[in-house]
């Protein structure tokens, strides 16, 4: 059993807003792990189509021992599910590290700034700012796309709330949201030559950490990271590379054509197709990718996304050995593993 999630149950009323340790932006576990220099692991939770809080806990259960923080998606792929806010509030209460996702697709600046305060009050320490997929790919294609902010102006807005203590209207906040700010980047889709510059813009707008989309093309990712290092960005922002298991060649092809922003090279699909056990091969591929990514200078962690396959996340993280460093450290210093991340 690898225990990296310290149970830190949070009672919003008794505990009050999370106080950041000195030198930190937030009280979030993810920030502590990254600043400490550990190779961090975040994992995506598939939100339930349900109003039952126990369904949220059930979905989070397989991730609890292997993720420093759990990302609750915000209607990803423009499909309706339980809100990221609801999930994060529940999970932080029972002690999980969480990342609230905010997409610009569904809410305007009035709703979003209010949500940021609400989330911080409920114990959310990290927020991921996303543009969001177009409404057309989801289950409600007739919806009105909002896009009042874009991910970059959203980052700058939350940074203004946090660091200057005001809304975008200039009205003062009596208690600013202490949050660790994240953004996404997709290193494997056009314009490949400008993706690092776009990342620079996000860093300038306020991003503290980056979670990338799926990376299946290591050559593209390496080229991207080389540009990132040329710009010195790896010293300004923590980059978590996105990985996930492909369950079959058919699923991979489907994802490639139907999910926006997924690039899977033919060679990868051929490899899965040629395997006797395609699911096992997909898992092996994810493990290999993680091990290779870890060696790339400037990669601070991985973000594991396994749609409806949370049980695989545990195996992938455990077998990849990326937590061994922390476990050994725990053994040497005789720190109980569950205290590691604090």
């Amino acid at each position: 059993m690898i225990a990296i999630q310290t149970p830190e149950p949070f009672d919003p009323i008794a505990d009050g807003p999370l106080e950041p340790p000195p030198g930190h932006h937030s009280g979030s576990r993810l920030e502590r792990v990254l600043r400490r220099g550990w190779f961090a692991v975040t994992a995506e939770l598939n939100p339930p189509d349900s109003a039952d809080p126990r369904d949220v806990l059930k979905a989070a259960e397989p991730l609890k021992d292997v993720a420093d923080a759990i990302n609750a998606t915000d209607a990803s792929g423009a499909n309706c599910h339980m809100s990221s806010m609801g999930i994060c509030s529940l999970l932080s209460r029972v002690g999980y590290g969480v990342v609230l996702q905010i997409s610009c697709r569904d809410r305007n600046r009035i709703a979003i700034q209010g949500d940021v305060l609400g989330a911080a009050a409920m114990g959310v320490g990290s927020i991921l700012c996303l543009t969001g997929d177009g409404v057309g790919v989801g289950d409600q294609p007739g919806a009105k796309p909002v896009f009042d902010f874009d991910s970059v102006s959203l980052l700058r807005t939350i940074r203004t709330m946090r660091d200057d203590g005001t809304f975008l209207s200039g009205r003062r906040l009596s208690s600013p949201p202490r949050v660790f700010l994240g953004a996404a980047e997709n290193p494997c889709v056009p314009p490949l030559e400008w993706r690092a510059q776009r990342l620079a813009k996000k860093v300038r707008a306020g991003a503290d950490f980056i979670q990338t989309n799926y990376v299946f093309d290591l050559a593209r990712f390496r080229a991207f990271m080389a540009r990132v290092r040329d710009l010195g960005l790896h010293e300004k922002v923590f980059i978590l590379a996105g990985v996930g298991p492909l369950t079959s060649a058919r699923a991979a092809r489907w994802m490639r054509t139907n999910v926006p922003g997924v690039h899977i090279p033919d060679a990868v699909i051929a490899r899965i197709e040629g395997a006797r056990d395609q699911t096992e091969e997909g898992k092996r591929l994810a493990i290999e990718l993680i091990q290779e990514m870890r060696e790339i200078e400037g990669v601070a962690g991985v973000h594991v996304m396994a749609y409806r396959r949370e049980h695989l996340v545990h195996e992938i993280v455990a077998e990849s050995g990326i937590l061994d460093e922390r476990l050994n450290h725990a053994a040497e210093t005789r720190v109980a593993p569950e205290n590691l991340s604090s």
């Binding site: 340790p21 946090r162 314009p191």
Partner: protein
């Protein structure tokens, strides 16, 4: 018109020069506009602006033109209205995630910017969210009025007066999105340059385009580091790297 719009991006350099000249002319005409009344001019000028820019750039009349910061590709043609760069859904062949029949606006924008003398510097500016209240208004007139006012202010700073709530909102925006204000005035929020923003700008202007002056929340000044791993705010990577390896 799609063809004209792609032509404009291919000749971004030329159009930028044309635009700079035109802007100077508009600013020079400020006294005339003021005499005729900006309010009275608004409708006819907006009508002409819509016709010309609509043809050339597929302009959507957002009222805060950023063409000079987006390689002369109008970002309001992006179905997600992104003003700060492409989304993560651009297709392998460079077409748009939402409207595959169109090339991603931001691929055009970056190519256009690379052709303009200061294009790459300008495309790196963090743009504020669009002020939807300005939709449909003439950004030409706005630039003329704002730039002329700025010039007047530079010569004789106005007496400080009480700040109205909308003015405060705009000042906050102007401060949060500093460089947008300086380099692309028509894109930035309508507001007098706040003192603090001016000071900050000087910092941001001198650092490289890719530098972000690290801003630390005030509470971080105090307090002791945690076992040496969370020292000062500036070089946090050194801090988190240095502390790694048990």
């Amino acid at each position: 018109m799609y063809a004209a719009r792609r032509f404009a991006v291919r000749h971004a350099r030329f159009f930028e020069r044309l635009y700079n000249r035109f802007e100077a002319l508009m600013v020079a005409l400020d006294p005339l506009f003021a005499r005729l009344g900006y309010d009275r001019l608004e409708r006819p000028v907006a009508f002409i602006e819509r016709a010309i820019k609509g043809f050339l750039f597929d302009c959507k009349m957002c009222g805060q033109c950023v063409l000079s910061s987006t390689g002369m590709a109008c970002p309001m043609n992006c179905p997600k209205n992104l003003r700060n760069g492409p989304c993560g859904g651009v297709r392998e062949d460079g077409s748009c995630e939402v409207r595959p029949e169109m090339r991603c606006v931001w691929l055009e924008a970056w190519e256009g910017a690379a052709r303009m003398p200061r294009g790459l510097e300008r495309i790196a500016i963090v743009q504020p969210p669009v002020d939807r209240a300005l939709a449909g208004s003439s950004s030409w007139l706005r630039v003329a009025r704002e730039k002329a006012a700025e010039r007047r202010r530079a010569m004789a700073p106005p007496e400080p007066t009480a700040v109205s709530p909308p003015e405060r909102a705009r000042s906050t925006l102007a401060k949060a999105f500093r460089r947008a204000r300086r380099l692309a005035p028509s894109a930035a929020p309508l507001a007098a340059e706040p003192e603090a923003a001016l000071a900050d700008q000087a910092v941001e202007e001198t650092t490289s385009v890719f530098e972000s002056p690290t801003r630390q929340p005030p509470h971080q000044e105090s307090g002791e580091g945690r076992g040496g791993e969370n020292g000062g705010g500036e070089d946090r990577r050194a801090k988190h790297r240095g502390a790694s390896a048990p």
